[in-house]
């Protein structure tokens, strides 16, 4: 069984113009250790796809299984526990908590876990160092550059050592040099065996992916590199 198994996934929203189908039936299997890119024009359903994969909203129909767990069979609170244990999120607009320092933001997923305070701190410092920000641990998000905020967000996604990282346009609001640095960091993490699913607009990022899922109007458009890159991933 693949690490991620998605079958007949559909999601519709009620809007003023009537019901809008954001995803119209997506089937997908992703192996562990894959760096999967999700691309497509605006409104193609990329963000909805990522939200459903991350258990952030419920599908209209279909299922998502990660590591053999059918996540939408879980209740609300169990689903929250699942997110904490299995997933790391990197949001487009970083979504750092403005009144917490870099270190505290990284420790956030550990805040509701039973763990010694010293251990939480040690882990957070370790991942901050991993993303090259150990000297900025006491700074508030407003005192950090965009690239630094993105690194804090990545460190926060890593602190729980989750099997899967979901990134929504992580380079969307960065200049190209910083974007390249971030992509290199993600690639490095992937090289260490981390499974990553990343939504992006930027065709330049495609080079980093093993697989690219192209969405159009809520459906998989084409996946030209599947065989080649999957093989390359070994």
């Amino acid at each position: 069984m693949a690490f991620i198994e998605i079958s007949a996934l559909q999601k519709g929203y009620a809007s003023a113009a009537g019901r809008v189908a954001a995803l119209k039936g997506v089937d997908l299997a992703v192996a562990e250790g894959t760096f999967l890119g999700v691309m497509g024009p605006s409104g193609s359903g990329k963000s909805t796809f990522l939200s459903l994969l991350g258990g952030l909203c419920r599908p209209s129909s279909g299922s998502v299984a990660i590591d053999g767990i059918d996540i939408y069979a879980l209740g609300q609170e169990r689903l929250a526990d699942f997110r904490r244990a299995y997933l790391g999120f990197v949001f487009q607009s970083f979504n750092l908590v403005p009144y917490l320092t870099a270190l505290e933001n990284v420790m956030l997923p550990l805040a509701v876990q039973k763990m010694a305070a010293g251990e939480k701190r040690r882990r957070a410092l370790l991942v901050l160092e991993r993303v090259g920000l150990s000297s900025r641990e006491g700074h508030l998000p407003s005192q950090l550059s965009g690239g630094e905020q993105e690194r804090v967000a990545i460190a926060r996604a890593l602190v729980n050592a989750p099997p899967l990282i979901l990134a929504d346009e992580p380079t969307g609001s960065l200049d190209s040099a910083t974007a390249t640095e971030i992509m290199a960091l993600l690639k490095e993490l992937n090289g260490e065996g981390q499974t990553i699913v990343m939504v992006t607009h930027n065709p330049e990022n495609e080079a980093y992916f093993h697989r690219t899922l192209r969405l159009r109007d809520g459906l998989i458009d084409a996946e030209p590199q599947v065989a080649r890159r999957l093989q390359a991933a070994g």
Binding site: S51, R58, L87, Y99
Partner: protein, 385 residues
């Protein structure tokens, strides 16, 4: 790093926002506290004024026959000198369980004396409590101060042609008239008033008193109980409550209280609404943050706990400051609202009450929006702003 750390860092690092929240709550609490403490002080002032206005318990010697007088008309049979109360027994009044409710004890001795060939009723009084109880007495001149002084009722003064400064001979002793009572329309008009020892000496009733008027501070004391306690302490005397006075007084106070509680209830409601709106707005503002917490794996319970922790901290701080501000405002306002000088009343329940009000309203106002936000799907919350 736990939920407490997050809550305190939020409050500590967003001082402006916290100050706004505290101010919103503080206004509500301070208004309620001001009104309640003003009410308490003014009620006490009113009670005090009413209580010091006349006696409400009368202690007279026990007599075996029914009184034959009504409205100043006396029928025969009362002329006989009745038994008297021993002055030394008066100390027992101060031993009753409800002694703290006694405002003033005014003993007096009554007897007839002859002045310039006229028979006049002489009343010996303890000037302090007597003039305190009889607030309506207006003295032309000054009240009694020494044993060789007299105050004359208006009718007696007119009859005997007395004016302040005149000297009168009573039983061979010269007395100075220091004051004339203005007309009261009561029996007091035809009296000559001397000090208790002087009158006892003149009337040959040393160590005796004819009757005692007691002013009980009866805002909330049971007059009937006090009457029973006094009767037990003074078995040789007849103790009776002047029911009319007591009932009128209690009725007036009850009306005042009902009015002030009504106003206080409205103010507390308004205060609670201010708090509610402030807290609700503050939580709604944080929907996106709640979305982040939920996405990172916080359970709904964690989010609600976090919000309530903050709300409780802010509420307690605002409750404390609101209480102090309210008491301060009361102290400043009190002199303008009362003509006498009422004291600030530190009602023991008001402080904890203010804290509980702030805590209750603050948490209740935060609970609903927190619950609502925690129920949203995280994507929805993240999109909220």
């Amino acid at each position: 790093m736990n939920l407490r750390t997050i809550a305190f860092n939020n409050l500590r690092r967003r001082k402006g926002r916290m100050a706004f929240l505290v101010a919103g709550l503080l206004i509500g609490v301070a208004t309620a506290v001001t009104l309640l403490s003003l009410t308490a002080a003014l009620t006490m002032d009113a009670e005090h004024k009413l209580d010091s206005y006349g006696a409400n318990i009368l202690i007279t010697p026990k007599v075996d026959e029914l009184s034959l007088s009504y409205g100043g008309i006396v029928l025969g049979g009362v002329g006989v000198d009745p038994q008297q109360i021993a002055e030394s027994d008066l100390a027992k009044i101060d031993t009753i369980p409800n002694r703290r409710n006694i405002g003033a004890v005014a003993p007096k001795i009554l007897g007839a004396v002859t002045v310039q060939g006229e028979r006049v009723l002489l009343m010996g009084v303890d000037p302090g409590p007597e003039f305190h109880i009889k607030r309506w007495w207006q003295v032309q001149g000054r009240p009694l101060a020494a044993d060789d002084e007299l105050v004359a009722g208006s009718a007696a003064a007119a009859r005997l042609g007395l004016a302040p400064g005149d000297r009168v001979d009573l039983g061979g002793t010269p007395y100075t008239v220091v004051g004339i009572l203005q007309e009261t329309g009561s029996q007091d008009d035809s009296l000559l008033i001397a000090t208790l020892p002087a009158a006892q000496h003149l009337l040959g009733k040393k160590g005796e008193v004819s009757l005692v008027e007691v002013a009980a501070l009866c805002a909330d004391c049971p007059v009937e109980d006090m009457v029973a306690q006094l009767s037990a302490a003074l078995p040789g005397a007849r103790v009776s409550a002047i029911q009319q006075v007591v009932k009128t007084r209690i009725h007036a106070l009850e009306q005042f209280r009902a009015f002030s509680f009504g106003v206080a209830a409205v103010v507390i409601l308004v205060g609670a609404l201010v708090v509610f709106v402030t807290m609700m707005g503050s939580v709604n503002e944080r929907t996106r943050e709640i979305g982040i917490f939920r996405a990172l794996g916080f359970r709904r319970g964690h989010v609600v706990t976090l919000i309530l922790l903050e709300a409780a901290t802010v509420s307690l701080l605002a409750g404390l400051l609101g209480y102090l501000t309210g008491m301060g405002a009361t102290a400043l306002l009190l002199p303008f609202l009362a003509d006498s000088h009422p004291h600030l009343v530190w009602t023991p329940l008001l402080g904890p009450g203010a804290l509980l009000l702030a805590l209750g309203v603050g948490c209740a106002a935060s609970f609903y929006p927190a619950l609502h936000a925690s129920r949203m799907e995280p994507t929805e919350a993240l999109r909220a702003l």
